[in-house]
């Protein structure tokens, strides 16, 4: 998976993308027939958010990812990406409860960092593909959600309502509604 928007680097290091991917794979794992966060392109959602609505959080969360790695070293002597999934899950379960053995930066507490990453991952996975994740509506097909919007909503609306003076999308009716 290639992010179409690049991640913001930290002042002293590139964005820890490998750690992010390893985390995403535990937050929403892939199964046979049911892709997870990595397959669905959630990192693309995150890259877009870090360049937009969540720009103010990007550095803090990147530091959290680096600290996640430090936490893994402190506990097991290996980077997070090298841990077995069961150990990754155990470590993450501790962070969720605020339990850490390494010293996390004051502005990135383990529980708050983890909760935020959980939210972001699921937003990317379950929101509309237009937000950058949920590639080809993978998650929606998994759970049985279909927005059932007309393929061209505007065309559909203008066909369904040829006389509507109120249509603001296009056409003559738009003249009724300046601005």
């Amino acid at each position: 998976v290639t992010a179409s928007v690049s991640f913001p680097d930290l002042p002293s290091a590139p964005f820890p993308l490998a750690i992010l991917r390893a985390l995403l794979d535990r937050l929403i794992p892939s199964e046979d027939g049911f892709p997870g966060a990595v397959d669905a392109g959630v990192e693309n959602y995150l890259a877009r958010q870090f360049a937009g609505s969540c720009a103010h959080e990007a550095t803090r969360l990147a530091r959290g990812l680096l600290q996640l790695d430090a936490e893994s070293f402190a506990r097991h002597g290996v980077p997070f990406v090298s841990l077995a999934p069961s150990r990754q899950d155990a470590l993450l379960g501790d962070l969720e409860k605020g339990r850490a053995v390494s010293s996390w930066p004051v502005e990135v507490g383990p529980a708050a960092f983890f909760a935020r990453m959980v939210d972001l991952a699921h937003e990317g996975f379950y929101s509309d593909p237009g937000n950058g994740g949920n590639r080809e509506a993978i998650s929606w097909r998994m759970i049985g959600y279909d927005p059932r919007l007309p393929s061209s909503a505007t065309d559909h609306a203008s066909k369904a309502a040829p006389n509507a003076a109120s249509r603001s999308d296009s056409g003559a009716a738009a003249n009724h509604f300046p601005g």
Partner: protein
Amino acid sequence: MSANDDYYDVIIVGAGLGGGIAAGVLAEAGHRVLVLERGRNLAFDQIAGDHLRNHRLTLYGDNTTVDPGAQQRVFVDAAGHEHVVRPHEAGFNLNAFTVGGGARIWGMQAWRFHPDDFRMASRYGTPSGSSLADWPIGYEELAPYYERAEREVGVAGDNLGDTHAPRTAGFPLPAVPQSPTGAWLARGAAALGWKTFVPPLAVNTQPYQGRGACIQCGQCIGFACPTDAKNGSHNTLLPRALSTGRTTLTTGAHVTRITTDAAGRVDGVEYFAPSAPSVRPVASGGGAPPKPDYERRSARARFVVVASGAIETARLLLLSASSQHPNGLGNHSDHLGRHVQGHYYPTAFGLLPRGVENPNLGPGVTIASTRFNHGNPGVIGGAMLANDFVKLPIIFWRSSLPPDIPRWGLVNKQAMRDLYLRGTDIRGPVQEIPSPDSRVTLDPHMRDHFGNPVARLSGTTHPETVRTANFIRERAEEWLRASGAERVWSWPLERKFSAGQHQAGTCRMSTDPRDGVTDPFGRVHGHENLFVCDGSLHVTNGGFNPALTIMALAFRTATHIAAQA
């Protein structure tokens, strides 16, 4: 004609349900109308599909606010801490800023209030510390205007089942089709001896007034409608107003003051409007929001109608203080901005048993009961109960999984897969018991882009609201259990400031000027040509979604103005 000497019969501030309907009635009666709307007229694709920025989930923005930096408020939480909040943030109490107002994106429940909703104090007494009062008009007075709203805006309903309020005409559109989930809930209610019916929705269940029918898409509430089957003023009375040739609609217009002449008589408004072409909304992240350039304008009229929603209507009347009215227009008796109400929304969640089909069709609300609106032991008032709208997957993930499901990992993912189509909930809008301390004032420090104080929201509802809400929550749980839900859970409600999309109460009507802001027609006491035309008028806000009552009052007030304008 230059921008500075515009003269109209009527200026209407706000193009939502109240203002749009008033415009239609007044323009068709022959009057020249200027409608000033802060929002823009947005196309479907601007309010279409962002599941993180819509009026059901405003995580990173909403899909109607243009230039969010121009609109902020100060919210004072229950602990007394102040928060400067933007439209999409908690505490702002957003209703959609756009032509059509909240009805552009609403869920369309179009209820008549119960007759006893107009006489709450008479029926229950006024609890200590509350400002519970009767309306100065009764249901019978409003009934013909409810009927007109149902017909001219378009409401689909169940003529046989919906009997909580007497009616003399049928609904103009057949009720939405019952869903398998609704049928399952109907059986559960019947086992309890509760009557249910398909609730009234302002949706074209078949082509009506030149527009097509609902296609039961899976988004609905929070978004604009792809087939324009979602009825409001934006596709009925407002286009009718414009088609008379006597109505001017100016969007992006921020009204800053209602002006009065040397004698104190209202004679127009001052406002800012974009000097540049309109901009698109900030619908998705990235970059700074567009900032239109505004120019100062004024307009004069024989009548001014304020229809900006309970928060901004109160703010505008407060901002319009003059030497004759130093506390704001209509604030002669210190009621302006007080008694803020919305709806507490107790909700019970449950899981459909395996085998109950859920095709998950929009709009989604298909069954309701009005059994608990009144006459409940030990509590004041009550609420209508109904099932919920179609639910976006991300909203289901955030709020509707059983509480013991882990928040992440394989178990969470499997639960989403297994439970998304089995989740169901029952909820109801609780008639709030107003408090005079729940209020809108002008913030003493924070100013908007135009140099005027922003709305400051403070206080909480009365404790009796919370008691009723928890009673209703228990009834919602009872309904799900009786239906055979596999699991049932809910969350207790607590005291808080309540306004939001159902905001009401800040300009309560009264016969005696000492008891309220406006007279029983919405005319501001002491001002023969200044009217309010939105939920601000509601003395109490009913145990129902308030939109149809806002519409009925708008028809009534506008008809009253038209007769003398």
